[in-house]
């Protein structure tokens, strides 16, 4: 398992080193704080979708769920809901969305791609409709603001709130996936669903859990993004994020065929994607080239990973053979 991380870690170190050498300001506290903040936000989404990907599914609705949660939060703030209640209601909504996805996938046997593609369209539509597509802010909810987007000073370095969320989410996710029976069941069912079922594992329930985790983390990200940006554009907030989340998960070692994934890998991959952007901006590369570079680097990363795996497999074969002699 550990091998999966090597490629992406190498990529991270390479870009990090390259940018640090090329631009003196890269290592400034302010820049690193921002890098940590955005990486954390992306990583939380990535971890969510990683669970779904491990079951062999996919979730394209993440960005729209983020937009919906951010939009509704703004509406609620405006209607002077109690902030805590609003947050709880929205978290419950996210969980509900995941539940619906899970039920449609397991009980109705619809394809995850289709279910969540419809979700992508539907939640976006609902965001626009309920808010009349007005951008809104979160003006006066100061406690929530510092909870979701505050900073904790450690020397001159201010650790951003999303980072703490990430730490909690990552630890829980890591424990869940690697130390508990449910995590193991998830890995097993992602590899061989029938086999898992024959072993007495409630595969449907676990799959639903994966979708719930994913939507829950998308909803949480929605709140974090909302308070980070302090504003929501119902038609735009979160658009396209699912692709970044999936890219992070896959680059971080999840196979879309299911059954494989590490939390640490996803986090590093999310950091790589954000780092790339930061680097492009700091190096003053044309803003128009940004997408082209990100696409190219991800592809190279994945290809390098594949090549490393193959070389290792060949070496393993050679070892087995020589061991037998």
């Amino acid at each position: 398992m550990k091998k999966n991380i090597l490629g992406i870690l190498g990529l991270f170190i390479f870009i990090f080193g390259f940018t640090a050498v090329s631009n003196e300001n890269f290592l400034s506290a302010y820049n690193l704080q921002n890098l940590v903040k955005w990486s954390s936000l992306y990583a939380i989404m990535g971890i969510g979708v990683a669970f779904v990907i491990i079951t062999g599914g996919i979730d394209l609705s993440i960005g729209s769920v983020i937009g919906l949660v951010a939009s509704l939060m703004a509406l609620m703030v405006r209607s002077e809901w109690n902030p805590t209640v609003a947050v709880l209601v929205l978290i419950a909504l996210s969980v509900g969305i995941g539940l619906v996805h899970g039920l449609l996938v397991t009980k109705m046997k619809l394809q995850p791609f289709v279910v969540t593609l419809c979700g992508l369209l539907f939640y976006r539509g609902i965001s626009r409709w309920t808010t009349d597509n007005q951008s809104m802010g979160y003006g006066d909810t100061e406690t929530l603001n510092s909870f979701f987007s505050g900073k904790m000073a450690i020397g001159s370095f201010g650790l951003p709130a999303p980072f703490f969320f990430l730490v909690v989410v990552a630890i829980l996710a890591g424990i869940f996936l690697n130390r508990t029976i449910w995590g193991r069941y998830l890995l097993a069912l992602g590899n061989n669903e029938e086999g898992a079922r024959y072993s007495g594992i409630g595969t449907d329930r676990l799959k639903i859990t994966a979708y719930v985790i994913c939507s829950f983390l998308a909803g949480l990200s929605g709140l974090l993004f909302a308070y980070e940006l302090d504003s929501v554009q119902p038609a735009q907030t979160g658009e396209f994020y699912e692709l970044y989340a999936i890219a992070a998960a896959v680059l971080g070692g999840c196979s879309l065929r299911g059954g494989q994934g590490t939390i640490l890998g996803v986090i590093i991959a999310a950091a790589v994607i954000r780092l790339l952007r930061n680097s492009i901006n700091l190096l003053g590369i044309s803003t128009h080239l940004e997408y082209a570079i990100i696409g190219m680097v991800i592809l190279c990363g994945v290809a390098a990973d594949e090549i490393i795996k193959r070389v290792m497999a060949r070496r393993r074969t050679a070892q087995v053979t020589s061991a037998k002699k």
Partner: protein, 318 residues
Amino acid sequence: SPKTSNEGSIAYVTNGIDPFWDLCAAGVHQAEAEFGVKCEIHMPTKGLADQKSILETLLAKGIKGIAVSPIDAENQTPFLNEAAKQTVLITHDADAPKSDRQLYIGTDNYKAGRALGQLIKAAIPDGGEVMIFVGRLEQLNARQRRQGVIDELLDRPHQTLGQVKFDEVAKVFKGDKYTVLDTRTDNFVMDTAKSNAEDAITKHPKLACMVGLFAYNPPRCLEAIKEAGKLGQIKVCGFDEQDDLLQAIKDGNAQGTISQQPWKYGYQSVRVLKALVDGDTSVIPDNRFIDVGYKIVTRENIDEFWAEKRKMAELGAQ
């Protein structure tokens, strides 16, 4: 038919979905009440293809008048001419000067850009480094605004709208006092808008002023500055009228903004369409251009402006 139906006899078509357009919708509603017409509002989701198919549908429906903000005016001209044959057609926000549209309701974005340039000069009278942030540079209004800002800061001569020459993107422009560093685009992705601002602060420690050309850009700049602890140190100037920006102007954290008073687009469009549909051509000025102008909003007139915007926002939400 469905409850949400807003079927009307005239239509107001935007170039996309943006809060800006919802403020325009406020003007539409205002005029609807005043002139006793019903106006459909259509916001194409994804670009030109959407806009075209919406226009086609409206024509199919036999709509009596359309006000449209063409996405690519020059190349849409033949199609707009087709439309003008079938209905009363006017343009708003962006013009298609070579088309057979009856008239254009809008502002001169180049001039507005120059006005923004003057705001910047007022913000950093001693000069310094300026950086521009915008959603997309392919939109004509974005290019015109940007050019206006650059020309003003570099004290270049005024250009005429419609014949503006645009400078390339990845280039630094150095004037006597002011340097325009770079223009970063974010494709309407909010976190990119913010991180672009953050990265600019990181990269250019001597940055003096950040300029946001689309409504959501100035607030993102403000947040980045605030988190960098440089509030007041780096000035902010912008376009449009998002609440966060208005608040910052009020608090003295931003210099000012250029508002196109979007509701005026909506209001004027409906007023003119209604008249034209009724056969009253007296609303057409000689130069076929109704300039709704722009408003320079600074600390002096912020309260009055904000009050009006609030009123309009409520109306737009109906």
